[in-house]
Subunit: 272 residues, 2 copies
């Protein structure tokens, strides 16, 4: 895995923290786990967490911070969830949705923070293994589609599974399955290969989120579960307050991808 | 996997439900996932769930029922958590600990039920693959040891990792690692091979729970994380009310082991 130089990392971290970098984190700091971010008042935390457990493919929960905690020594070593995401999205029943560069002023001690794996990690690994990723080459946002598959609901939280789509040849698709199927913390293997109708998708040129990509004549569309599933569920849930990352502006965690499994499971290293 | 005949299953289910079978479920209904059971009042549910997420090897959460729910169409199809465990253990701050055959009379609408994977599933698979399991052959309770490794705490919940031990030859141990390492829902692969001191265990003939087994001269001890970790944490937590299965009397779920991954992840089947 190509690693970023320390000074590049420090520069980017500084720009994000000071609110001068507010763009997509796609392709930034390759080799580091990126995460979807959701903060909810405690009253919603249990339902949300159970909903994630019931839907591990779109919602792979990698860390939870409780009662207003803003950092951890796991995925957030040296980081602060109030500052270290390029742009935040604020959902509130009393005000229109807005985007802001830090959330210090609106932070509340009853907030629970949820970190969920992200397909930017998956893109990283595909490219590392020599599989071209169309939306990365085109420098566009990955095409995303709402499917006709419902998540297993819990309390306030429900709604359709959202997927990302990457076009590939058959050979690349077989390889991509192998590369991603054990990457549970970043959506795992694809959920559908080559058959958009099985997901209720009729027009690949018209994604519900992101931007369309070209599909060549020797390619088929491959679909992975996507963290935007969470955003759709939050919109459906009518919660009175929530904070998430703004679309594409993920939390770049302090953990390198090849260390993620050891962080998720402190007993992952076999003692001899 | 050897499957039980329907009439054997129905008989056993009936005896458990009516309180006439109250013994260990080890080796019963091979091929079905068995689970540790914990019920806690809602006020403790969030901390407990986060503690499980932080310690997935000893505490692999497979299902959560909320707000007094007693069944599900997932791991509990046709089952009722108040009746379908052979014997329950009641922890209460106002009364001494006791064991009872059903919990209908003490059920509360604020209880959350947690199902966690169990190493009986692991024993099943080892035997299925031709690896002898000493405590099953001897018809004794698997030896369990408290280790010097602490779980990652959350709120009320903390305490040492407890492990089960199975003696094996080197060759069997290598095979056992391969068979169990992807069995995340039932404690996964061993956490230690051949080195009890790495876990702070000094006397293999004197387990903290269960019964000792013979270790032959060509064998080494292999250690897997164990669901009793949860019982020790509950004892430490001083919760004012909790229900668990009685030791060894697990919840035999409605799910066959080879279907478990599809139940844990509704998107586990690749669409084509």
């Amino acid at each position: 895995m190509k690693k970023s130089a320390d000074n590049e990392i420090n520069n980017l971290r500084h720009q994000i923290r000071t609110g001068t970098f507010t763009k997509s984190t796609a392709g930034l700091m390759p080799g580091y786990v990126q995460a979807n971010y959701v903060a909810l008042p405690k009253e919603y935390a249990l339902d949300f967490m159970i909903w994630c457990l019931r839907n591990p493919r779109p919602c792979p929960l990698i860390e939870v911070l409780k009662d207003g905690e803003t950092t951890s020594n796991n995925f957030l070593n040296g980081l602060d969830v109030r500052l270290d995401i390029p742009l935040y999205r604020i959902l509130s029943s009393s005000e229109p949705e807005k985007s802001i560069v830090d959330i210090c002023d609106i932070w509340r001690p009853d907030l629970y923070s949820f970190l969920l794996g992200c397909s930017y990690t998956l893109d990283d690994l595909l490219i590392e293994h020599g599989i071209p990723v169309r939306h990365v080459e085109a420098n566009t946002i990955v095409p995303m589609f709402q499917t006709n598959i419902e998540t297993v609901p819990c309390g306030h939280f429900s709604g359709p599974v959202v997927v990302t789509m990457r076009p590939m040849t058959d050979v690349q698709a077989n390889e991509a399955v192998k590369i991603t199927e054990n990457l549970h913390f970043a959506h795992g293997g694809p959920i559908c290969v080559g058959n958009p109708r099985a997901l209720g998708i009729t027009d690949l040129s018209n994604p519900d989120f992101g931007e369309p990509v070209q599909i060549q004549s020797d390619e088929i569309p491959i679909f992975w579960a996507c963290g935007v599933t969470t955003q759709v569920a939050l919109a459906n849930a009518n919660v009175d307050f929530a904070i998430t990352h703004a679309p594409g502006r993920m939390l770049i965690t302090s953990v390198e991808t090849d260390q993620a499994k050891n962080k998720l499971d402190p007993l992952n290293v076999l003692l001899k």
